[in-house]
């Protein structure tokens, strides 16, 4: 058995260490803007790309590294393409570390033990079509002091925060898919970000936007972020001048939670089947219009909010009466703050969520108008938005079940009526 082990050792390990040495040397010998192509295989080495060149995998190229980052990119104009990076369990640093500017990273697959990609003072870098799988211990893509980068078409799963952006301005985050992580997109103290067409689902929170200015959040889907007691689709905290438009926010515990939010434009979003559509706390001068609220248990709750404009939204449960024929109702919609106010003080009362008696109490204790967010002209019909997947149900099964129910109960009923 031992001999067999030694044979395996020689057969597998030696060839690897041979061409691992080669790669770094080849990279160092390559002239600026040259191309290095790696053949299929497993390489146990950490590479440093410090001058403008292209490193491309042909076939299945796997780079494995334990303590050091598998690949470090510095300088400018480095292209990294079609490579798979594997970190072992005891790794301490990020799998891929990037600084400098004008790099392109695409079709890179990362199986990370800690952080996937670390951008540190990197700018004008594009990360596209990458796949990152982590162990929930660290972030997928982490931006620190890095601006004007584009992150698009990536798939990130099982990490802490899918895309974490701190202190980094003017980045674009487009069409990424993040799931089964802590926070999908987490932004802190960064301005002028563009977050578009991303899908974030089954996370603790779809997106957390904190301490930002002028963030644009459009056409994203935040879905099914509902398994945690503090889950929400989108959280805005200390977010100024944020524009949130045409997103689909579905089946979350709370669709949008906003606190200390000023000058937010929440327009044309679709709130679908959330437990609570949106919650607002200590927020001023926001503009909430043309959103559709369908199938949410509570549509909206707001406390300590002033000077907000809320108009022309569609509320599926409200009473509607169109007097003018312009498509807007004359009956205002009130977002009753009572339950939120009650549970903010004593979270234990959340047990009464949608209890029949709670609804009665809410009707009885009508909050004064100046404390309530009121939509004075609700929309009569929901705005059209591309329909999300329709739940497939088998009518045959339901049919069968109803038949069994009817036949069974009728026969028992007749049996009971018989004399015997």
């Amino acid at each position: 058995m031992r001999t067999l082990g030694w044979i395996c050792f020689f057969v597998f390990v030696l060839p690897l260490s041979v061409h691992a040495k080669e790669i770094q040397t080849i990279i160092d010998q390559t002239p600026d803007y040259g191309i290095v192509k790696m053949a299929s295989g497993v390489y146990d080495e950490s590479l440093i790309l410090s001058k403008p060149l292209t490193l491309e995998g042909v076939g299945r190229v796997t780079i494995r590294s334990c303590r050091l980052p598998a690949v470090v990119i510095t300088g400018h104009h480095v292209v990294l393409r079609n490579i798979m990076i594997q970190q072992c369990r005891r790794a301490e640093s990020a799998a891929l570390v990037v600084t400098g500017h004008d790099h392109i990273i695409e079709y890179v697959q990362i199986v990370a033990a800690k952080r996937g990609i670390q951008l540190n003072q990197a700018s004008r870098t594009s990360i596209a079509h990458c796949l990152i799988r982590g162990t929930r211990q660290d972030n997928g893509i982490d931006l620190w002091d890095s601006s004007q980068n584009i992150i698009k078409y990536n798939t990130i799963k099982q990490v802490k925060d899918g895309i974490y952006i701190e202190n980094s301005n003017k980045n674009e985050v487009k069409a990424n898919f993040i799931h089964n992580s802590r926070y999908g997109i987490h932004v802190m103290f960064s301005d002028d970000l563009m977050i578009k067409r991303n899908l974030s689902e089954h996370n603790l929170a779809g997106a957390m936007i904190m301490g930002t200015k002028r963030t644009v959040i459009e056409h994203n889907s935040f879905r099914q972020n509902n398994r945690h007691v503090h889950s929400q689709g989108l959280l805005l905290y200390n977010a100024m001048k944020t524009s949130v438009k045409k997103n689909v926010i579905a089946a979350n515990r709370v669709g949008v939670y906003a606190e200390n939010a000023y000058n937010v434009q929440l327009i044309g979003n679709y709130f679908l089947r959330n437990a609570i559509g949106m919650q607002w706390n200590i927020s001023k001068k926001n503009y909430i219009a043309d959103n559709s609220f369908v199938g949410n248990v509570y549509d909206a709750q707001a406390i300590r909010c002033f000077n907000n404009t809320i108009i022309h939204n569609y509320w599926d449960t409200s009473l509607k009466l169109d007097q003018t024929g312009r498509g807007f109702s004359a009956i205002p919609y009130r977002a009753d703050p009572f339950f939120l106010a009650l549970t903010t003080n004593v979270p234990e009362y959340q047990l009464f969520f949608q209890a029949p008696g709670m609804l009665v109490l809410q009707k009885l204790l009508r909050s004064p108008d100046d404390e309530v967010m009121i939509d004075h002209a609700p929309r009569m019909n929901a705005l059209k938005i591309e329909q999300t997947h329709r739940l497939s149900t088998d009518p045959l099964n339901v049919n069968r079940m109803s038949l069994v129910m009817i036949v069974g109960s009728i026969s028992l009923l007749i049996m009971g009526r018989k004399r015997g």
Binding site: T99, N120, N139, D145, F189, V229
Partner: protein, 177 residues
């Protein structure tokens, strides 16, 4: 028979009431469920976590000392029993008024208020010797401006670019919160 019942219930109630006037104790952080009462982020079970126990026995948790002070400043009417912070090295719970604090813009805390707490002053001074920073007592902390690192960073940006390499190493293990 009925009187005995009422009496015993009253006794239990009294017992329970007397229990709550005792000294407040810190509660363990539940990483799965706890969130910061100011900024709504998850509270990690690390040395940055703080707790605040109100007079009525309600415990609030925060992920950063700055978040706790933000809450205190916003809720001046609430009666506070005790504030708890943790030792930077051991993560042991301390009462806030017995701790020593260090502020430095390069210390990374979850909400970037950049203040950490120490059980004894010596450890704090040693930290300053090694990493730089300003020592703050509990009383001085009350007058701290709680300026976040973001504004600082903007000003420091050019300076930082020059010694980027050194900074980079520090940031590599910055709190990913």
């Amino acid at each position: 028979m009925r009187k005995i019942w009422i009496f015993s219930i009253l006794m239990i109630m009294l017992f329970m009431m007397s229990g709550c006037s005792q000294k407040a104790k810190p509660v363990a952080i539940d990483e799965k469920n706890d969130k910061c009462d100011t900024c709504h982020m998850e509270v990690g079970n690390n040395s940055f976590a703080t707790e605040l126990v109100l007079k009525n026995g309600k415990t609030l948790k925060f992920d950063d000392i700055g978040c706790m002070y933000a809450w205190v400043n916003e809720h001046k009417k609430e009666k506070i029993n005790t504030m708890f912070v943790r030792d930077y090295k051991t993560s042991a719970w301390l009462e806030a008024d017995s701790a020593t604090y260090v502020y430095d813009k390069n210390i990374h805390t979850p909400m970037a208020y950049n203040v950490i707490s120490f059980q004894d002053e010596k450890a704090a001074k040693r930290f300053i010797q090694n990493n730089g920073g300003t020592l703050l007592t509990y009383d001085q902390l009350a007058h701290h401006t709680w300026e976040r690192n973001k504004e600082m960073m903007m000003k420091m940006k050019h300076k930082k670019m020059k010694h980027g390499k050194k900074e980079m190493n520090k940031h590599d293990n910055h709190m990913g919160n």
